[in-house]
Symmetry: C2
Subunit: 450 residues, 2 copies
């Protein structure tokens, strides 16, 4: 169960063993800690290191846990007994930016923030924008099909992914997809690896789509008396044919906490919505957003210079850190059909009361993607158990309203039982047969995702 010393010498990157491996590798940002200690950590320096590590792990009877930034919220990168951790964050070169073709080729360890900054020098941007953009990797973003604030208009990570380089369980390097805007030759392997949470292979590089920086961006925020009117206002905006580039909702408690953290004596309200419009129609769309919001509340604010916009957005961005002051948080991630947002938020509030848990909800109203944040205060010994029960009730609500248990964070170790409830035996069996076809010996991330 360990790598022979001469195999370790073959790596270009650093290799650590057993007790030398930092504790952080046993967990990710979900707080989940894997049982037992991982055997080996390979800090891969290049693709050959990745291939070598996969072959060596298979030979030594170790499983392979691929890790990018370790910012995941489902325990997917948490490594325990019997595993080799393959940290690919060191593969971090931008290989190419082809501005004319609006395409970039990057290694898996590059962060979306770094790529986006590089693209800006060509008048382009990389649109997928998880809030973790600076602490996660594009490989991890692709492996989780990460979302973000802009996906209501620009799509999720998968929508920007054109092709991948993947190291398979036998150490072979697979190229999927293409660098052209379109293409249908063969099965869509790129989408199969996107969101596969490290169970099918190691993503080592990606060809991604860039888009022009919008000519104009306008931010509109509004305070509502209750979640119902906020959700109705969001629906009315979309029915008015407006395609905001962002449409975010905070419930009453999230708003209050965020204002508190920012130290602003802001307006109190039953719900807060912040929207952005961009592109050539930004002004016309912003006017309609503001007018539509105005049918549901009198408290509408618009900012078109970057400072005013940043101020309106700051509240949204502060919502999570504000809650983290009160203890460990369970960050949930359900999606409901957009027409059910208000119902979902009400139900979550009831769940919180029933399980005596503090749950604040905010999220991407344009997509119906809600993040109920359950606080687990350190000084309340029973709080964690109640929080888990509340989370279960929230997943049940999502399914009952025609939604899903995860919109962007993935299944990892934490939601496996719920995956079966959402998708049923035929879908699970089909996924397992594909996993088995690509990884017959169960090398990659056993016990995760399915």
């Amino acid at each position: 169960m360990a790598l022979p010393t001469d195999e370790i010498r073959a790596f270009t990157g650093k290799v650590l063993r057993g007790g030398d491996i930092p504790e952080v590798y046993r967990t990710d940002r979900s707080g989940y800690v894997a049982a037992g200690e991982p055997e080996v950590l390979v800090l891969a320096a290049d693709v050959d290191d990745v291939r070598r590590a996969v072959v060596a792990a298979a030979g030594a009877g170790l499983s392979v846990v691929v890790r990018g930034g370790g910012s995941g919220l489902a325990g997917g990168a948490a490594a325990g007994a019997g595993s080799l951790i393959l940290d690919v964050s060191g593969l971090n070169r931008i290989l190419e930016i082809a501005a004319d073709d609006e395409v970039a080729v990057v290694e898996a360890g590059v962060s979306a923030a770094v790529l986006d900054a590089a693209a800006h020098r060509h008048g382009l941007r990389y649109t997928p924008d998880p809030a973790s953009t600076a602490i996660s990797t594009i490989g991890g973003n692709i492996a989780t099909n990460a979302g973000g604030l802009r996906c209501v208009k620009y799509g999720v990570t998968g929508d920007a992914t054109l092709g991948l380089d993947v190291v398979l369980a036998d150490g072979q390097l697979l190229h999927t997809g293409r660098r052209t805007a379109k293409g249908v030759a063969g099965l869509d392997l790129t989408s199969l690896f996107t969101g596969s949470e490290g169970i099918l292979g190691v993503i080592v590089a990606a060809t991604v789509r860039l888009r022009p920086v919008p000519i104009d961006t306008i931010t509109i925020a509004a305070y509502f008396d209750d979640v119902e009117s906020a959700a109705a206002a969001c629906a009315a905006v979309l029915a008015a044919r407006v395609r905001p580039a962002m449409l975010e909702l905070l419930d009453e408690s999230s708003l209050r906490e965020a204002q508190d953290l920012l130290g602003v004596r802001g307006e109190s309200a039953g719900a807060f919505v912040v929207a952005q419009t961009d592109g050539f129609g930004a002004r016309a769309e912003a006017d309609i957003v503001a007018k539509t919001f105005g049918e549901f509340t009198s408290r509408v604010r618009t900012g078109s210079d970057p400072d005013a916009a940043a101020e309106l957005l700051a509240v949204r961005r502060a919502a999570l850190p504000a809650l983290e002051r009160h203890g460990r948080v369970l960050i949930e991630d359900i999606v409901v059909p957009r027409s059910r947002i208000a119902t979902a938020v009400r139900r979550i509030t009831e769940t919180a009361a029933r399980h005596r848990s503090r749950i604040n909800t905010f999220g991407h109203a344009g997509d119906g993607n809600l993040h109920p944040i359950i606080v687990v205060p350190a000084d309340d010994p029973d709080a964690y158990t109640r929080a888990v029960a509340a989370a279960d009730e929230i997943f049940a609500t999502a399914l009952e309203l025609g939604g899903t248990i995860t919109g962007e964070h993935g299944v990892g170790v934490l939601k496996r039982a719920w995956l079966a409830r959402e998708q049923g035996p035929t879908a699970l069996r089909t996924q397992q047969s594909i996993r088995h076809a690509l990884d017959p010996n169960g090398l990659f991330n056993p016990g995760k995702a399915l």
Copy 2:
């Protein structure tokens, strides 16, 4: 090798045998004709018929060839000896339009044109728009991941597909995906079946995304001296951050033929481009398109009322029918990185000369997707052989320029050898292992797509 009579009686839809099966089922719109006669034709009336047919075919040792509208251009639906044809065009109900959620649920046999018309009654539309929208089915569009004119802004069929119902090789019904805008639970089976050309299962229903009808649409056309300046003008438009909803290019001969068919004494030019902008920024974007085109030619025309727009677009739509007057046509479908469009068109012109073939090229300049149309006159006995040689050279050009052999028509029977050349052994092996995992006995469309 035949179905027992009592099994045939179990179907709700009509079942035909051997000699009673219309000849058209041995082919599709590519002109390819399968060898031998199919054994059974099932005109499925509902999902149970589909399940029954799959199980019966497996029991009788027949292969299953799924057929939608039969409008395919790669021979995928062409059925020959030893096969049961499963015609699903009779599953043609729109099951639901949820306007608030911008979602529709349809059976596989519904045509995109019919769904689009139904969506319009809710102020919405179904954006994927293959030119065959009235003669193909959504099931077939999904099975080929069909493109169209609007994909440069709105994406291809797969981008509008949220979830599927699929009958698997063992007759089980699989549900994939979801009806919410986002979701990452489990492997992305929806994308795996999208573009799978009938080799993994039978799509019987789909949940698709609708979008608002744009508030405004403007059409801009321009005549250029040569393809180089037309391609440069298209690139300049995109570099000006404009996102046209359509950006189509015709070479000199396509333009002339189309004008001839329409009977208009139009302007002659080295290349013709027609663009559309839509949405709240349509006017501002159209102004920039026109101004940018104006830097490359003095002959720019703009139409914002529907009639003028229709006239500008008519030329584009006439390009294919115009050529079909001259004989059988091979409709090719390559994609190159956008920056290589002019090079590709020039190379195709050289190929035509070298192989003494008439090849006209038009296509989706915004995506780099070109359709070189090779005419095979009936009175030239050697023309077909030359056309095939020319097609091969065109595929080689696509790969050499960093592109792909098919942007929207698929591999079918006609491009299998080229798939291997494009993707290499590891990608092929990976796809074959997935095919085998889902269809271990090779029931679906043997000899096609891979």
